[in-house]
Point group: C2
DNA sequence: CGATAACTTGATGTGACTCAACTTAAGTGG
DNA sequence: CCACTTAAGTTGAGTCACATCAAGTTATCG
């Protein structure tokens, strides 16, 4: 799991030099010359909610970084029910390098703005710039750790614990995302994806998810402002509900930053 | 998930040149000079079942390849119950590079023989040999895909389906492991780890696991020879029990090879 | 050969999925 | 801009798979 950056500045990202992601995405390891080259192969594209950026089983042609919005990484079963294996946030790298086809589908969970690159062009670029490939390796190693941690979280906890963990991570991330240190910490956070997607991500159903969220609201731990906005009221209680050591929770928040 | 190689030849692995892993592990991308260097920093060590190779939260000092045996990758909860997030087989790389501490514990699930390297020495080696680092990246990308696939498998299926999938993968891998093409395909395979560990891996309890395995036996799909050895009787039925497209199952087998 | 661990089997309670109805929000076109 | 349509989310009742607790059986090891 990944990052959320200041989204308001996304529009400035037409040049890598002024890109919000410049020092967060894999480009951070790139030399000035490399940045110029990236600037040449990358181009900004927008997708609307629901559009498939890269389909499961399709030839992997496009990779890049998310500038704004959320992409869901999912697998579709034979029975049609699809499971979400990851959520990608701004500054996250998406797509599959060094493979002919993508095993998962990358779908816009919200309207998204992406910095897209041709996969093979990017691979050639990596071949010429081992220092950037090194950064990519580091980020993939972290991603692997995060995936394992998430997997163990999903498998070993009750639905309520998963929901609490998810909300906690969202709340904390939103808190951290504010760059202005003097900004009042409102504890209000947005839930960027639908209940259906959250359920598929947490390995449950929309019904059970709803019941749990409502229960959290009834217990005055979070306040439901609307389906996509909530306010954290009692952090301590939420942590307790999550049923994990606070440090483990922090780690999950970190891994999404 | 990972590989199984011919284990009988493990003893010959005192030199990289004659190592069974030479063309399977990450060393496959190494030039002759690089192999010589690896030979210098690597050394063979044995651990007995239950020994911790690298503890959770400890400083990451040792990395390497498995020559023989199985290592389990696990996280321990605060409540003490630990969950297995991965199993590593011969030729698999273990340990965490480019991080000061290991988030997971690497524990010998069976007696193991390892080709161990000092983490920092190996990192210096990678710095000098981008082509090997490239191989490492590829293998980590595959591992990430496999982990996501596994995670979605775990989350979206019943316990019986998980057990069937696990047995299928073991059986198929054992079938493939036989290098002798003329060897009779006995369909007998060994279960390298304890029921307790399998349960922790599949996200269930030893009790439920036992019930499912016994049910599979009662239905003449597999024959239980002893706790650690089984024979596949009805492959088609096992696939059906697993409740997945055969191609998805094959992919899981592949990802462990 | 006794002790301890690993595994199996049984009985019971419950968390969460399913099916179904209802409510609210979001689009869409006249 | 408002009726209409469709999707998204909530709430309820019933069922079942699986965890838990408990006791028995079979391996493993000193």
């Amino acid at each position: 799991m990944p990052v959320i950056t200041a989204q308001s500045t996304a529009a400035r990202c037409s040049k890598c030099d002024s890109c919000v992601l410049n020092h967060r995405a894999i480009c951070r390891g790139a030399s000035p010359e490399a940045v110029i080259e990236l600037n040449r192969i990358g181009h900004i594209r927008s997708f609307t909610r629901g559009q498939i950026v890269q389909g499961q089983g399709e030839k992997s042609v496009i990779v890049g970084n998310i500038i704004d919005g959320v992409i869901k990484l999912s697998t579709a079963n034979v029975e049609g029910d699809h499971h979400i294996v990851g959520l990608l946030f701004p500054s996250d790298f998406f797509g599959r390098v060094y493979a002919e086809e993508s095993k998962f589908s990358y779908e816009a969970a919200t309207d998204v703005t992406l910095c897209c690159m041709d996969r093979q062009a990017f691979e050639r670029f990596l071949g010429k710039h081992p220092e950037v490939e090194h950064e990519l390796l580091i980020s993939k190693l972290d991603e692997l750790d995060a995936m394992r941690e998430w997997s163990s979280m999903i498998t070993g906890h009750t639905t309520m614990q998963r929901v609490a963990t998810f909300l906690y991570v969202l709340a904390k991330r939103s808190e951290n995302a504010s760059c202005d240190v003097h900004a009042p910490k409102t504890k209000v956070f947005t839930i960027p994806i639908s209940r259906r997607d959250i359920a598929a991500y947490l390995g449950t159903t929309p019904e059970t998810l709803s019941r749990n969220v409502q229960a959290i609201s009834r217990r005055k731990i979070c306040r439901i402002i609307n389906a996509k906005t909530m306010e954290l009221l009692d952090e301590r209680a939420l942590v307790k509900l999550a049923g994990q050591a606070e440090e483990d929770l922090e780690q999950l928040v970190q891994s999404t930053n």
